[in-house]
């Protein structure tokens, strides 16, 4: 036990004395949360639009007001003729144009129907989609308000609710993703690198010719990274709750336990990499291509798995991050319990056992 603690202490010295490692370990989660939270967001805020109001009546004016009052749109320009619309798009200043025809108010009141045209710049299809959706929602809202109390003949109203994330915040999606990524990076890559570094510098040679069981050496190296991962999980959760307003709807204990399970799986993978490689560069390369890229690409965090070709969908099943991502989303955002994520938990547990078995099997008690 004393040996073990002395190893852990030594490992912390290594970490704290290397500022670059320190930054990667502790700065990374903060930086990622901030980048994803404020820069890399697909939410649309203050999008510039142009308005061509050919009616200039009471109803059109109040609808335009509604649009402007929302935080999604900012009216860049009022247009005077239909010809100006395309010219305005070509300047690239606006993303959408709203066109209200003549007699908007009277059509609405007397014919019970009126038309609004939304023209969006679909060179960015996602953005165009989001903007027209927002605008439609605002228009529907407005319509509901002015027709309040009155019955309209033959209208079908679609009513929708965005479950678990009514404001459609991107943070709900990327917080689980960033958690998976950071844990992966810290546990798999850093652990693999630090063990392989001992092989590279020759200290492993001295450690092997000592009474310490080789497996104990490796486990002792993993412990500090496990502790740091716990710190990282706490940082990410605190940042997401207090800075990004992402709530933890489910049980915090379950969330932490699942995170520990994922951390252990990542550590086991790191140990496996370290026992099959002999240079830091190879270890880094394997962790990046074998873990980091699949975590980003195939976990469902950046790109929906349902849209992928069949073969990639199959491959995505062996990426531990995919299952962890599903678990975190369920527990943290949807607020569900173990009853709904037991399958994913079991899969992660299976992966952990497999990776542990593999790393013990490939572990070498000698140099070669």
């Amino acid at each position: 036990m004393k040996q073990f603690l002395s190893f852990v202490k030594k490992e912390f010295y290594h970490i704290f004395r290397d500022h670059r490692t320190m930054f990667i370990l502790l700065g990374m989660p903060v930086v990622q949360i901030i980048i994803f939270g404020f820069a890399l967001t697909n939410e649309v805020k203050n999008s510039r639009i142009a308005v061509l109001d050919m009616a200039k009546d009471e109803a059109s004016a109040s609808l335009i007001n509604e649009l402007e009052a929302s935080r999604y749109f900012e009216i860049e320009k009022y247009l005077l003729s239909y010809q100006e619309v395309e010219a305005e798009f070509k300047t690239g200043r606006i993303h959408m144009a709203v066109i209200l025809p003549q007699n908007f108010s009277s059509d609405l009141l007397h014919l019970n129907t009126a038309q609004v045209q939304l023209i969006a710049d679909a060179s960015d299809p996602n953005m165009a989609n989001t903007l027209t959706n927002y605008a439609s929602a605002i228009i529907m809202d407005y319509l509901e308000r002015i027709t309040d109390g009155r019955k309209l003949p033959y209208t079908i109203k679609t009513e929708y609710r965005m479950l678990y994330n009514p404001q459609m915040k991107g943070a709900y999606n990327f917080v689980p993703g960033v958690m998976a990524m950071v844990l992966m990076l810290v546990c798999t890559m850093m652990t693999a690198i630090t063990i392989v570094r001992e092989k590279e510098t020759g200290t492993m040679e001295v450690l092997l010719v000592s009474p310490v069981q080789p497996l104990k050496i490796v486990v002792a190296k993993a412990v500090p990274y496990m502790l740091l991962s716990m710190v990282n999980i706490a940082t990410i959760l605190l940042l997401s709750v207090f800075v990004l307003d992402v709530p933890i709807n489910g049980s915090l204990l379950l969330l932490v336990l699942e995170s520990i399970l994922f951390t252990l799986t990542s550590l086991a993978f790191g140990l496996f990499i370290s026992s099959v490689t002999n240079s830091q560069q190879t270890a880094m390369f394997i962790s990046l291509t074998g873990m980091f890229l699949p975590t980003i690409m195939l976990s469902g965090f950046m790109f929906p798995i349902e849209n992928m070709p069949g073969i990639l969908q199959y491959i995505s099943n062996v990426v531990p991050a995919k299952w962890y991502y599903i678990i975190v989303r369920s527990v943290m955002i949807k607020g569900t319990g173990l009853a709904t994520v037991w399958k994913e938990t079991l899969i992660l547990f299976g992966m952990l056992l497999f990776l542990l078995f593999m790393s013990i099997k490939t572990f070498k008690i000698r140099l070669a």
């Binding site: 004393k2 040996q3 002395s6 190893f7 030594k10 010295y13 290594h14 004395r17 290397d18 510098t201 020759g202 200290t203 040679e205 001295v206 450690l207 092997l208 010719v209 000592s210 009474p211 310490v212 008690i365 000698r366 140099l367 070669a368």
Partner: protein, 308 residues
């Protein structure tokens, strides 16, 4: 008394099917308890492979070895408890201080610095003033002393030192050998490898290795006594031409540069006078000739010629 280290016919091969390097070609020797045993040979002779097999870090292809009565394959754990090993490359933690390194190694060997302080105190005294310095910032000689302290911290029965004096200045080398003498007096068996022939005389016995095979095992005196040929040191104005002319003389077994002289090994029947006459005939004026006492390097060169 049973030998402290026994190697029997050790063979080690590296490489794939395409390119095979034989690092050890059947090496056998025994080291008595308390002996200071030197393994002398140039780079690539197989010294490190041999040390790694004996310290249980590598498996030999064939042959067997025992350290302190334990088999290096079967009882590797027992060996790891009782030997000290200092690899050829500096293998301590560069980002830990001198004291932290020593403490760390003391703990993993289940001991404390205090417990064996008397064993290392003479060595550690040299580096104690720098105990708060990071190991990476020490000079070459200091690093070796720290590494030796760490290898000794658990009072090993057998100490393996792989090229401890390579890359160390002459003064530190001398100090280092004095430390080994001191450790020997404490009853520790020491195996030390070195590429420096002049260090052979400091060992009790030496094994001369070349290309993975032992050419000779003997005491340093024994090796030089077995030389059995007449050796002449020659010096002249033009040393370069002198060597060329020596090579051209049929009465010599061998000739090679040796410090400020050239050494010429005479064939039986060739006299110094005959050599002198030949050199004068070649226009070397009045070359200086003197009978030389063969040292380990001369023996090594001679052995290399006969084995190859």
């Amino acid at each position: 008394m049973k030998a402290a280290v026994i190697a029997e016919n050790l063979v080690k091969t590296y490489g794939t099917k395409k390119e095979v390097t034989q690092a050890l070609k059947g090496v056998s020797f025994e080291v008595a308890p308390g002996e200071l045993f030197g393994i002398i040979g140039p780079d690539g002779a197989g010294k490190t492979s041999l040390f790694r097999i004996l310290t249980t870090l590598l498996l030999a292809d064939s042959g067997r070895a025992e350290v302190d009565g334990f088999d290096v394959v079967k009882n590797y754990e027992d060996i790891r408890h009782r030997v000290g090993y200092m690899p050829g490359r500096f293998s301590l933690y560069q980002d830990l201080t001198v004291e932290e390194n020593l403490e760390f190694f003391a703990t993993i060997f289940n001991t404390t610095i205090e417990e064996n302080h008397d064993l290392i105190k003479d060595i550690y005294a040299h580096i104690e003033p720098f105990k708060n310095r990071r190991a990476g910032k020490l000079s070459g000689g200091m690093k070796q002393k720290l590494a030796l302290s760490c290898a000794l911290i658990h009072r090993p029965t057998v100490l393996f030192l792989d090229e401890p004096t390579t890359g160390v200045d002459a003064v530190s080398r001398k100090e280092f050998w004095e430390m080994l003498r001191m450790l020997k007096s404490q009853g520790i068996t020491i195996l030390v490898s070195t590429p420096y022939m002049d260090e052979a005389s400091r060992c009790d016995r030496v094994a001369l290795v070349q290309n993975g095979a032992i050419m000779s095992i003997n005491t340093p005196e024994g090796i030089t006594c077995n030389y059995g040929k007449a050796l002449v040191a020659v010096k002249a104005e033009n040393m370069f031409r002198l060597l060329k002319d020596l090579k051209g003389f049929s009465g010599l077994v061998d000739s090679y540069p040796f410090g400020e002289y050239h050494h010429a090994v005479l064939k039986p029947g060739t006299t110094e006078e005959a050599l002198l006459a030949y050199l004068q005939q070649q226009g070397h004026g009045q070359p200086e000739l003197k009978t030389a006492k063969p040292d380990i390097e001369d023996c090594f060169i001679a052995l290399m010629k006969t084995t190859s």
